[in-house]
């Protein structure tokens, strides 16, 4: 892409700005912030990736992945503050999912062990694990709140904490993973996945692009289900104390 062409893409930012201004939608400020942030962040990542690819050192790859995980955990832990120790629980979840998927990918030689594969795939896995963690936590805290009297009922009948939140836990796991599964059913019909589109535009063979996209889709199935289950089973015990009582949630 020529520098001029790149510059001209800003027309697509100008259109919403003008519309927002004329219709008084008040979106200007956020649009500008979003534009500036995406330009700087993406260029920074681009140059960092170029550097990592060129130097070809595993230390840099690890550093990159650690950075991604750090950012993802930071983002996801804003949700689920009601759950004690949620920060390290999300960290464990994302790290385990990343290790598991990379172990399978590299262990079976599905992709070559180079930065060019490891980093983008890790980005997608970590990013999706983060989104799933947020979806799960939103749902789980809402379910707990709505069903507090049932939780108390089961405890009062001599049930364990696990029995007391079992329904809320499995409902939340299902609810948070369903979008991932559902979206795959219409994949390719309604829209071309972003990664595949990018590859095709960059000149790759469409069939090859499809193969990689399938790899990613299946990978994201595992990511979704494992993230949600792992985070669920890590989270629920900290809702109770050692006397099997619901710990009161701070309402803030």
């Amino acid at each position: 892409m020529s520098p001029l062409a790149l510059f001209l893409t800003l027309i697509f930012v100008l259109i919403p700005l003008v519309l927002s201004k004329t219709l008084n939608l008040g979106l200007e400020r956020d649009t500008i912030i979003a534009t500036v942030r995406s330009i700087t962040q993406l260029f920074a990542v681009g140059y960092i990736l170029k550097f990592v690819f060129d130097s070809d050192g595993y230390l840099y790859i690890l550093l990159m992945i650690a950075l991604m995980i750090f950012a993802a955990v930071h983002n996801a832990s804003k949700k689920g503050k009601a759950i004690p120790g949620i920060l390290w629980k999300i960290t464990v979840t994302i790290v385990v999912v990343e290790l598991l998927t990379q172990a399978i990918l590299l262990g079976f030689g599905i992709v070559p062990a180079t930065a060019q594969y490891i980093i983008p795939i890790s980005g997608m896995v970590v990013g999706n694990s983060m989104v799933l963690s947020i979806l799960f936590l939103n749902r789980f805290t809402a379910e707990l709140e709505a069903n507090q009297n049932r939780t108390e009922l089961i405890l009062s009948l001599g049930g364990t904490p696990k029995q007391a939140v079992h329904t809320q836990l499995t409902d939340s796991i299902k609810a948070s993973t369903i979008p991932t599964i559902e979206s795959q059913k219409t994949m390719g019909l309604v829209q071309l996945p972003g990664m595949m589109s990018g590859q095709i535009i960059a000149g790759a063979d469409p069939v090859q692009a499809v193969q990689f996209q399938l790899l990613i889709l299946f990978l994201l199935l595992t990511t979704a289900v494992v993230s949600s289950i792992l985070l669920g089973f890590l989270s629920y015990p900290s809702l109770f104390n050692e006397r099997m009582q619901l710990i009161r949630q701070k309402n803030d």
Binding site: N149, R150, E152, L153, I154, L155, S156, L157, G158, G159, T160, Q163, T167, R243, M244, Q245, R248
Partner: protein, 242 residues
């Protein structure tokens, strides 16, 4: 004045939420094998006292003895089976009436035979036809009946009943009162029964606790409610205390 053996004894018990005192300090006993009625204005801390009895809550300070043994020495799940509770709002789990009745046993990986479930339903004045009705379709009073039956299934030594007849008509209320009295007499089950109905508190109670603003103001034979010594209790009984 009869001297009763305590089934549950509170020793200087306090409970607070976010440093705001809810109940206490309370020192007093619930006599074994008797029906104690627990009365007091809304928000007095009655439900809180029951939850302290079965370990759904723990006191911040003080001690609760169950059959002379500190409540903390029991496994929480054992304590809650030994000291069963029917919750105030009679919550139901998803599913049918049968799913709700079978719940206490399913929690122990056991099943409740259907004929048993039907006889429990009949005990609380519901016909067996209700067994496969969805719990979400029950009326408030029917829910209370199912909740009572569900609590009885654990065959607890001590039963905590939190306003279990508040949504019932007079005939159903009588039926439940005589059921609980029968259980009390037949098995020597200790009953602690919260009620807003003072007539009921006197007629079914052997013993009574009067709780006002988290404090145990008076205890004794249920007839104390007919002519209370304490001024606050007098005003509460007259309906002047909110």
């Amino acid at each position: 004045m009869t001297i009763y053996e305590p089934a549950i004894h509170f020793m200087d018990v306090r409970y607070s939420i976010d440093n705001k005192p809810i109940v206490g300090p309370i020192t007093g006993s619930f006599p074994s094998g008797r029906i104690t009625t627990l009365v007091g204005p809304s928000g007095a801390g009655k439900t809180t006292v029951l939850k302290l009895c079965n370990g759904l809550l723990s006191p911040d300070s003080g001690e609760i003895l169950i059959d002379g043994q500190s409540a903390t020495t029991f496994e929480p799940t054992d304590l809650r089976r030994k000291v069963g509770m029917a919750l105030q709002d009679a919550p139901m789990v998803n599913g049918t009436v049968y799913d709700n009745l079978a719940l206490p046993l399913r929690l122990q990986k056991k099943e409740l035979p259907e004929p048993d479930a039907i006889s429990w339903l009949e005990d609380v004045g519901l016909s067996g036809d209700y067994l496969h009705k969805k719990a979400s379709e029950l009326s408030g009073g029917q829910r209370q009946k199912v909740s009572i039956a569900r609590t009885l299934i654990n065959r607890s030594d001590i039963l905590l009943m939190d306003e279990i007849t508040s949504a019932l008509d007079k005939a159903s209320r009588r039926e439940i009162e005589s059921l609980i009295t029968r259980i009390n007499q037949k098995y020597g089950t200790t009953i602690i029964w919260i009620t807003h109905n003072l007539e009921q508190a006197i007629s079914i109670g052997d013993y009574t606790w009067v709780l006002i603003s988290g404090e145990l103001i008076e205890t004794g034979d249920s007839h104390i409610l007919e002519d209370p010594a304490d001024e606050r209790v007098r005003r509460f009984v007259k309906g002047e205390l909110q």
